[in-house]
């Protein structure tokens, strides 16, 4: 924020600066794009959704009368004759977090107006997300094959299946929506919509590279949520 200049407004550092910005007219977050501020607040609301899910999960797991299945057995993979616990999940997590890295680079190249690099990196992020969803589908089908259902579970408490499918499903929906938007944004970047300020299909607002950063915020959030789901479901 140090290079931001606003005519007639003097920035102050630290807590005093925050108080001054809050008390000032026009904007509270100086120089922050409307869409970006919106995404932050939306993510705050979404955090509450996932918190409700995870707290319900903790409550459900804590109060069930039948034993909870051992996650490192249920989620283990049998490869090359050995049982490797959490192998698939480790790969999934690695892919998703890598895609966060490519997203961050895409934002950087976007602001440098490097259309090509930006576009390719968004595409790479989208493919990372798609891989994640694909592996999740594989994991789901494996569990379903073994007899786990939302309403029953051969390994223990039926709530395991209920919460697992609901929460990973809800998160997977988030990833899928993100992937769809990533593909659209990759197309728009390559087609130069952000350079020309071409108007959007629905909103008829002028395109700008800040949109990539906004989508990036969403993507990082989805990754962060995955880290929590990972910790609560697979490590607990």
């Amino acid at each position: 924020m140090s290079d931001l200049k606003i005519e007639g407004y003097e920035f102050k550092p630290g807590f005093k600066g925050m108080a001054k910005d809050t008390g000032s007219d026009q904007t509270m977050f100086k120089g922050v794009h409307w869409g970006k501020a919106m995404m932050w607040i939306f993510l705050l609301s979404d955090t509450f959704i996932f918190s409700c899910f995870l707290i319900s999960y903790m409550k459900g797991r804590g109060s069930t009368i039948i034993d909870w299945p051992n996650p490192s057995e249920v989620f283990g993979l049998h490869v090359f004759g050995v049982d490797v616990p959490l192998l698939l999940i480790a790969i999934m997590t690695f892919v998703l977090i890598t895609s966060s890295g490519t997203m961050a680079l895409a934002v950087k190249y976007g602001y440098e107006k490097n259309k090509k690099m930006c576009g390719w990196l968004i595409l790479a992020t989208a493919i990372g997300g798609l891989t994640f969803v694909g592996m999740q589908a594989f994991e789901w089908s494996k569990l379903i094959h073994e007899g786990v259902r939302p309403w029953e579970n051969p390994f223990g408490a039926p709530q395991f299946g209920s919460f697992f499918f609901m929460i990973t499903g809800f998160h997977g929906t988030h990833v899928s929506i993100g992937v769809i938007f990533l593909f659209i944004y990759a197309y728009k970047t390559f087609a130069g919509h952000y350079d020309e300020g071409k108007r959007g299909w629905f909103t008829s607002m002028k395109g700008d590279y800040v949109e990539i950063e906004i989508l990036g915020l969403y993507w990082h959030f989805v990754d962060l949520v995955w880290v929590f789901i990972f910790a609560f479901f697979y490590l607990w």
């Binding site: 005519e7 007639g8 209920s162 909103t203």
Partner: protein, 612 residues
């Protein structure tokens, strides 16, 4: 009275500090407001009928759309309440009134009034119309999203009303939708009804999130030059804080509704314990019904304040304008709104004292609940002190304001009863509770809505509503509402339980029958009286007295648009520049008894205006 108080000295001392440029005359840069940080908003101007009036992106039109749809849904809720009162006052009079129908009407009445009527009307209706005008923006910051928000609400209402026409009818589990009974056979609408209710709620939350993001960012990032947060009218503060609550509370409802649908459709057991039914064990097992109650009330209690805070804000503005006095303790009013909002997240389990949770929880939640009385009482005192020695115009708007204060204090005091565990336990699930929450979050916010309609109708339509009809409307509603809910407190004390279809031969019959008949008659009259307003609106839309610019001599920005009613873009060529707060009424030394927010300090250099 005034000679009893030798307060001239303090006023003098205060004004020498707060005086703005007083005495020193006009200095060259006193009108300076720093230039705009953000460029002009890029607006989509509709040209066809469809883009101008149906799929419209203008916040004012969306506000009116929200208002009309919420009112329509509210009238359905009103008719349902008539049917309930018909059964309670005169059991057996209507042959179609079975116990199933009664429960369905109770449920739908509650859900419609709380979510689809009050929430949608305050935030969607007043929020959309007033926020951009009051903060000096051209429109909401994301007009397209705003339009989608309304149409999501439209679909949500459609799905909700569709449940009247599915097999089994709408859900009859009470508006709290408690599992396990909500989805078990035997409860009306346990199949399709509860499913449609959950879908409708999810759609409502999704639509509301889109609208809520708009309100928040418009207030935070799109204010006009000179408009600081502490110069905003309290209406905006109320709606803003309520929106923050909604953004954080609705997720719990969304999650609860989703898990309930899964329990219902897929047969999961999130909320379903092991259940024996007619000697057979159902397939459910191991879930926690209390979990749903926690999720529901984590939404449900902030929801009360989502309805109440906009009402607090609006009433502050109405009182200030019509008492011609600045609002007493503006900053305290703001902090009280924010404080009530924050506290409302720590009180939810006071709805669950009898749910069987740990008694220590009850102790904690009783404490937090009673603490809320502090900021709330502060607001009531400030409203009264605003009225005190004001130049009161006793018009219809002011009557509604006074009605609100009385009703709100009344409902608030019974709230203190119910906040205590030991008092709540015997009164729980009686008519005392019904009386309490209808007073505090039914009638009181309704009074504010009515006052706001009479106040802002001249802005929206350019004409005044008829005062004589308005007074009839007020007195019938006010006295009628008291006739309904005051006796209910007594019914509660003698132990008449709520949600009972009929009393049959219980000992309550003798003492409660006459009162129930009286309440029902009053309910029919009060309900019918609301149609006076509709008649009034239809009548004055074409033939009412033209209002012209700023008919109430108000200070705030929404009255200062170049055209009345304001056009798309609100402000014509130039955005307004704000120099003061919205409450400079009856300023000593000023020519008129109000100084608008856009009046530059040099024009009022020798008056004792507050420095804001």
């Amino acid at each position: 009275m005034s000679e009893d108080f030798n307060d001239n000295k303090t006023i003098q001392a205060q004004s020498s500090e707060t005086i703005s440029g007083g005495g020193s005359g006009i200095t060259p840069d006193m009108d300076y407001v720093r230039p705009a940080e953000v460029g002009e908003q890029d607006l989509y101007h509709g040209h066809s009928f469809i883009t101008k009036w149906i799929f419209c992106q203008d916040a004012k039109v969306i506000g009116v759309q929200y208002f009309l749809l919420a009112t329509f849904t509210g009238i359905i809720g009103l008719i349902l309440s008539w049917l309930m009162r018909l059964q309670l006052g005169f059991p057996g009079l209507a042959p179609f009134m079975t116990a199933e129908h009664y429960y369905q009407f109770v449920t739908m009445h509650g859900m419609i009034m709380v979510v689809y009527f009050l929430t949608a009307l305050f935030l969607g209706g007043f929020g959309n119309y007033l926020i951009p005008l009051m903060v000096g923006a051209r429109d909401m910051v994301f007009p397209y999203l705003n339009m989608v928000s309304f149409w999501s609400f439209f679909v949500a209402v459609g799905v909700l009303l569709a449940s009247f026409f599915v097999p089994g009818g709408p859900t009859g589990s009470g508006w709290t939708l408690y599992p396990p009974q909500a989805i078990l056979e035997g409860t009306p609408g346990s199949g399709y009804g509860i499913m449609l209710m959950c879908i409708s709620l999810i759609l409502f939350v999704a639509g509301f999130t889109m609208g809520g993001l708009n309100y928040l960012i418009t207030v935070l990032q799109a204010r006009t030059r000179g408009m600081t947060l502490m110069r905003m009218p309290l209406t905006v503060w109320g709606i803003f804080t309520a929106t923050v609550l909604a953004m954080l509370a609705f997720p719990a409802l969304l999650v609860g509704a989703l898990m309930m649908s899964l329990d219902n459709v897929l047969g999961t057991s999130f909320f379903m314990p092991t259940i024996l039914k007619a000697g057979e064990v159902l397939e459910y097992g191991g879930g926690s019904p209390i979990l749903f109650q926690h999720l529901f009330w984590f939404f449900g209690h902030p929801e009360v304040y989502i309805v109440a805070l906009p009402a607090f804000g609006i009433i502050s503005d109405l009182i200030s304008v019509h008492a011609r006095k600045n609002i007493f303790g503006y900053r305290m009013m703001v902090w009280a709104i924010v404080g009530i909002g924050a506290l409302s997240f720590f009180v939810w389990a006071h709805h669950m004292y009898v749910s069987g949770m740990n008694p220590w929880f009850g102790f904690f939640f009783a404490t937090t609940t009673l603490i809320i009385a502090v900021p709330t009482a502060m607001k009531v005192y400030n409203w009264i002190l605003t009225l005190w020695r004001g130049n009161i115009r006793l018009n219809t708007v002011m009557l509604w304001c006074l009605g609100f204060i009385v009703t709100f204090v009344n409902g608030g005091i019974t709230g203190i009863f119910l906040g205590n565990v030991s008092v709540d336990v015997p009164l729980s699930d009686t008519y005392f509770v019904i009386a309490h929450f209808h007073m505090v979050m039914g009638i009181a916010p309704l009074m504010v809505i009515m006052g706001a309609v009479y106040h802002w109708f001249p802005l929206v339509a350019g004409r005044f509503l008829d005062e004589k009809l308005g007074k009839w409307h007020f007195w019938l509603t006010f006295l009628g509402a008291y006739s309904i809910y005051f006796p209910m407190h007594y019914l509660g004390f003698i132990g008449v339980p709520r949600r009972y279809f009929e009393m049959y031969d219980s000992p309550y019959v003798t003492s409660a029958v006459g009162m129930n008949e009286f309440i029902s008659l009053a309910a029919f009259i009060v309900g019918a009286a609301q149609f006076i307003l509709i008649y009034n609106i239809v009548k004055t839309l074409k033939t009412g007295k033209p209002a012209g610019h700023n008919p109430w001599q108000a200070c705030s920005l929404e009255w200062l648009t170049p055209t009345v009613p304001p056009e798309h873009g609100n402000w014509g060529d130039r955005l307004p520049t704000v120099h003061r707060w919205a409450y400079d009424y009856s300023v000593p030394g000023a020519k008129e008894d109000f100084i608008t927010q856009t009046t530059p300090p040099s024009e009022v250099a020798h008056t004792k205006v507050e420095k804001t």
